[in-house]
Amino acid sequence: MRDNNTQDSDDELETDGGVAGGHGQAHRDTDYLNQEVNLLKPSTPFMRDHLRVVWTGFVIWVVAVFGPVTLTYLATDAMTTQMPVLGFPWHYFLVAFGAPTSALLLSVWYSRKRDALDEKYGIDHTTPEGTEHGGATAADGGVDE
């Protein structure tokens, strides 16, 4: 949110100077400690982007986990026919192999997306104890209250 840039954020701009683009700017301008956390009402640009990824993944996950068994319940005959080559009944394969594998692939997908988000917003995890970058958080945290 841009409406927070009244705070004294001069020093952050210098320390993080290398990050290009509006998202990095939006990130530096956001005072995360003063933005409400509500799963259904994301309040920062970062959380909006993040939750879009989270909910997309969640919907696919629900379909992958509960879809095959529900289909098996609704269309038992079709789902219990044999697969070509592997010989599994379809429902068995989709549940025993499909569901765990989907969760694993989704997890890789999510973690990559999340890393990409960090990059987009100019967040660097390689120096978790860095003083300069950390200084930005601290400066934000110190504002009011």
Binding site: H27, Y32, L33, Q35, E36, V37, N38, L39, H50, V53, G57, F58, W61, A64, V65, F66, V69, T70, T76, M79, T80, L86, G87, F88, P89, H91, Y92, F93, V95, A96, F97, A99, P100, T101, A103, L104, L106, S107, V108, Y110, S111, D115, D118, Y121, I123, H125, P128, E129, G130, T131, G134, G135, A136, T137, A138, A139, D140, G141, G142, E145
Partner: protein, 574 residues
């Protein structure tokens, strides 16, 4: 539903003829030199690692100095996770309960994605010591902390009963029947006492650091034993060549419709309820949640979840194949698995070991498969007991009873509570009410009913407050007990027959009760929070800090950052 089993413990599976003894028939029970040396050598190795990495201070004991990396933490997640229920109980359920048995495959893997997207990184940022720590600090309430600590203790206890049963059953194959040793106890019960004594001994020597180091070793042992066992059993019997995880499909048609036909032994509703319960339980288990406090950064928290899930999948892709091979071998060599009398549940619980034995593989090889089962059980008991004992020592003793406790006192209380948990578990495991997988399932229902809602709401809605949490957790505990009293307690009382109410057991089964309890607990927590005052601003800021994308120091917690008031972010040099 065809009935509610008391012996299998899985609703819907009619109880097989009751066995007086838990000695699994057709398993070759005798003392075997090479397998015994293997298992004892493995236990000695765990103790040695525990001793080398033994701890003297609490930071190391509970969160391993927050120094664990991606793959190592992933392996620890895997070892912590894959218990006797995964190694033994899951194949048993798939063999006996058919399609319904797959709920364990799905429920115990897919939950990690939910944990990853909603909780893992936030937990790392919160960065305390234990699961009750979160509840107590987030909701500013020692009562909430105490309820969470008691729940953690209870989960460790219920969960570990299944592990003790698994270790003892496998121990019988390796060490034989020592029923003559203690009057009044049979071979299974003596083995429970023996195996639990070893586990507790190793745990009291080392804390979380030793346990984490051990868990990487334990993971390696259990996954190698399981996979090599599967490949060799599949190959020597001509079932499979290089990918038994996919090749067992060709076998399914020959195993009888009981193996794969859907909704025969259980309803669609029960399937969904159990899976749901196992998934939310996964995301609420204290010994799983605490793994995210131990990593170096939140990015590590995320990627180690991915690694952990991969390591877990290696076993979960394989267990149905093992069940299929075991079922076929049993039918060929012993008697038909399905029908009357069918495979006894005690035999099904060791089907992984039994499959290796029935394949006429050399004794030392079956010993390796057996050792993997013991490693799986010990690793999980370690995680559970650490979580349970830290709940007592850190959350109840240090935070509530004696705030000036010295490190020495805390560790002493921690060790004493490990011993207490060990004794309680051993006693309950002497005559377990259900199958390994079902026993573990009850613990999941509890975690999903009480802890998961607190973590989820507490982390994602800053206005959740103390009153809401207290009301929610109490509701969760009460609701969880109802089906337990309905179905499990009567099995310990000879004059009662389980379940007390068949209708309740059908719609709120003990193993899947979280499907009913979770929405109620969510609603209670949210409504009570709405009608009472907002939590303090400080608390809200801690929640916000958990979601901020700004990197944090390795030794920092969200509370530190907020409390610092932004003056400095220098991590404590401890």
């Amino acid at each position: 539903m065809t009935g509610t089993g008391t012996e299998t413990g899985i609703p819907g599976i009619t109880a097989l003829p009751l066995q007086e003894s838990l000695l699994p028939e057709s398993l070759d029970i005798s003392f075997k030199v090479v397998p015994a040396v293997l298992v004892l050598g493995m236990l000695a190795l765990f103790l040695a690692i525990g001793f080398v990495f033994r701890v003297a201070d609490t930071e190391d004991m509970w969160v391993a100095g927050r120094s664990i990396g991606n793959v190592e933490n992933g392996m620890a997640i895997g070892a912590n996770w894959m218990s006797a229920a995964s190694y033994l109980g899951m194949a048993a359920s798939i063999a006996l309960a058919g399609f319904y048995g797959l709920v364990f495959v799905v429920g115990w893997t897919t939950g990690y994605f939910i944990l990853l997207i909603f909780l893992a990184a936030q937990l790392r940022r919160f960065g305390k010591y234990t699961a009750p720590d979160f509840v107590g600090d987030r909701f500013n309430s020692d009562s909430a902390r105490a309820i969470a600590a008691v729940t953690t203790f209870l989960i460790g206890f219920v969960y570990a009963i299944g592990q003790a049963k698994g270790m003892a059953l496998v121990g019988l194959y390796v060490f034989g029947d020592f029923g003559f040793l203690l009057p009044g106890l049979d071979g299974y019960q003596v083995m429970v006492i023996f195996m639990m004594a070893i586990t507790v001994g190793y745990l009291t020597l080392s804390g979380m650091l030793g346990a984490t180091k051990n868990q990487a070793v334990q993971y390696t042992i259990l996954i190698v034993a399981f996979l090599v066992g599967l490949f060799v059993v599949g190959y020597t019997n001509g079932y499979s060549t290089v990918l038994p995880q996919l090749e067992y499909g060709m076998l399914i048609d020959d195993l009888g419709s009981e193996f794969s036909e859907p909704f025969v032994t259980s309803s669609y509703y029960l399937w969904i309820a159990t899976t749901f319960s196992l998934i939310v339980g996964t995301c609420g288990l204290p010994h799983v949640l605490v793994r995210f406090y131990t990593v170096e950064s939140e990015r590590t928290a995320r990627w180690s979840t991915v690694w952990g899930l991969f390591f877990i999948c290696l076993l979960y892709w394989s267990a149905p194949a093992f069940a299929a091979f075991g079922t076929d071998l049993y039918t060929t060599n012993v008697r038909p698995t399905y029908g009357d009398p069918g495979m006894a549940s005690a035999a099904s619980e060791v089907i992984v070991v039994l499959a290796a034995q029935l394949s006429n593989l050399p004794e030392w090889f079956v010993g390796i498969v057996a050792a993997g089962g013991i490693a799986a059980a010990i690793a999980t008991v370690a995680g559970l007991f650490i979580a349970g004992s830290s709940a007592i020592s850190h959350d109840i003793y240090t935070n509530i009873i004696n705030e000036d406790a010295t490190q020495r006192q805390q560790i002493l209380v921690g060790r004493l509570s490990i011993v207490a948990l060990g004794v309680l578990t051993t006693l309950a495991a002497l005559d377990p009410a259900s199958s390994i997988a079902a026993l573990v399932g009850y613990a999941f229902a509890l975690a999903g009913s009480v802890l998961f809602p607190m973590f989820f709401i507490g982390m994602w809605w800053e206005n959740a407050n103390r009153q809401g949490a207290l009301a929610g957790m109490t509701t969760g505990l009460v609701l969880w007990s109802i089906p337990m009293i309905n179905e499990i307690v009567p099995t310990y009382v000879s004059s009662l027959e389980a379940p007390l109410s068949a209708g309740l057991a059908q719609w709120m089964p003990a193993i899947g009760s979280a499907l009913i309890t979770l929405p109620i607990v969510f609603a209670v927590t949210i409504i009570v929070s709405l009608v009472t005052d907002d939590p303090p601003a400080e608390t809200k800021r801690i929640v916000r800090q958990c979601h901020s994308p700004e990197p944090m120091g390795q030794q920092q917690t969200a509370e530190d950052v907020v409390a610092d008031g932004g003056e400095s972010q220098t991590p404590a040099d401890d």
